[in-house]
């Protein structure tokens, strides 16, 4: 009874985890926790920078600028571990896919982090210009949150007993998701660079945030979640009713497939909707990261609806919810 109850939460730890999987999960949680901790501190330290404007009295401005320099150094000290430790899986993934000669989903993310972090370090050192440490830490924290959800869903799915037909569906849908992402990511990264170049001509101060926001938007983390989360939901539903008959089983598989497809194309549509807004400079980098988290959460919630007890099977759930 308790075991079946536990199977319905995405955060329920799979009890039969291998030591390696358990270590992976602990590392992911530690990276996530450090990113959130640093994010909140850096946001606080960034606050004086947002207060500053040239209409202030000269002496107040001088004091504020001195304080901002100190705050920037403190932010740098807090952001460095996030970039070095928390974002480590992103660097590793980007390096791997670059070496394999393809644009995986980590490449634009790593580009976005580097493009925001390095100029900020330079601005801190020279004490001139704007820093984006708050955007960097928020971005990493939100992205790692989405990935942690994905990891939980994957590990739950791994525990819930393998089923050949589900597995086959999963392989087919996974291939479809990879195909979409492999076309989508380079196009979006190119678009981000073009938008940044255009803004550099019109308004150089906006070029960097626009590029970072566009690169962040091109991270298909919600898309990458769409298929595993669905399949995890189907596994959980199957674990709840091991003795369901063939007709209901077929209905479940069809429902899972429909949901996974809807998740995939829903998140794609959401990306396409947000991309022009990011390119137009209306979306701050941290806001872009937040929408990514929101769409990932929507995907997870929608997929999990499949396994919710008491829900009639085979009926269409709510459409892909935009955050």
């Amino acid at each position: 009874m308790l075991r079946t109850m536990a199977a319905f939460s995405i955060f329920a730890t799979a009890r039969a985890l291998q030591p390696g999987e358990r270590r992976q999960r602990r590392h992911a949680l530690a990276r996530l926790a450090i990113a959130w901790l640093a994010m909140m501190q850096v946001m606080m330290l960034a606050w004086p920078g947002y207060l500053r404007h040239d209409g202030m009295p000269a002496d107040a401005l001088a004091t504020l600028d001195w304080a901002i320099v100190l705050m920037n150094w403190a932010s740098l000290a807090l952001t460095a571990p996030v970039v070095a430790y928390s974002a480590w899986p992103i660097w590793r993934g980007a390096w791997r896919s670059l070496r394999a000669g393809r644009a995986g989903m980590d490449v634009p993310v790593a580009l976005g982090i580097a493009a925001a972090f390095l100029p900020s370090v330079h601005a801190t050192w020279t004490q001139r210009g704007h820093v984006y440490f708050d955007s960097v830490t928020m971005f990493v924290a939100f992205l790692l949150t989405a990935r942690y959800l994905e990891l939980c869903a994957r590990q739950c799915a791994g525990e819930g007993g393998r089923h050949a037909l589900l597995e086959r569906q999963r392989a087919a849908l996974g291939a479809a998701a990879d195909r979409v992402a492999s076309r989508f990511v380079p196009a979006q990264a190119g678009l981000a660079l073009i938008a940044a170049a255009a803004w550099a001509l019109v308004e150089p101060a906006l070029a960097l945030p626009v590029m970072v926001a566009s690169l962040v938007m091109s991270c298909p983390c919600a898309m990458s979640m769409a298929v595993p989360a669905a399949m995890a939901g189907a596994h959980a539903a199957l674990a709840r009713e091991p003795g369901m008959d063939a007709a209901r089983f077929d209905a479940l598989v069809a429902d899972a497939r429909r949901r996974a497809g809807r998740n995939l194309y829903g998140s794609l549509a959401w990306h396409l909707l947000m991309a022009p807004l990011a390119a137009a400079g209306w979306v701050q980098p941290w806001l872009a990261a937040l929408t990514m988290l929101g769409s990932s959460l929507a995907v997870a919630w929608y997929s999990w609806g499949l396994a919710r007890p008491g829900r009639p099977r085979g009926t269409a759930g709510p459409a892909h919810a935009a955050p």
Binding site: A6, T13, R26, I34, Q41, A77
Partner: protein, 60 residues
């Protein structure tokens, strides 16, 4: 405002301590099973070491 020279490093030290405590908690396995404590109360076998300790000292 020179107090910032003291307060900022102090806050960084606090964050460092919190981060270290968090990492210790994660790697010592305290977050491995978040449901364990909630389910424990539903189990019948409360005659373990924790059960007898909760009874308090016995009176003669």
């Amino acid at each position: 405002m020179t107090i910032l020279y003291l307060l900022l490093p102090l806050s960084l030290l606090f964050v460092l301590a919190i981060g270290a405590a968090l990492c210790w908690a994660v790697f010592s396995g305290q977050y491995d099973d978040a449901e364990e404590a909630a389910e424990a109360i539903l189990r019948d076998d409360d005659d373990g070491a924790a059960g007898s300790a909760a009874d308090g000292p016995r009176r003669p």
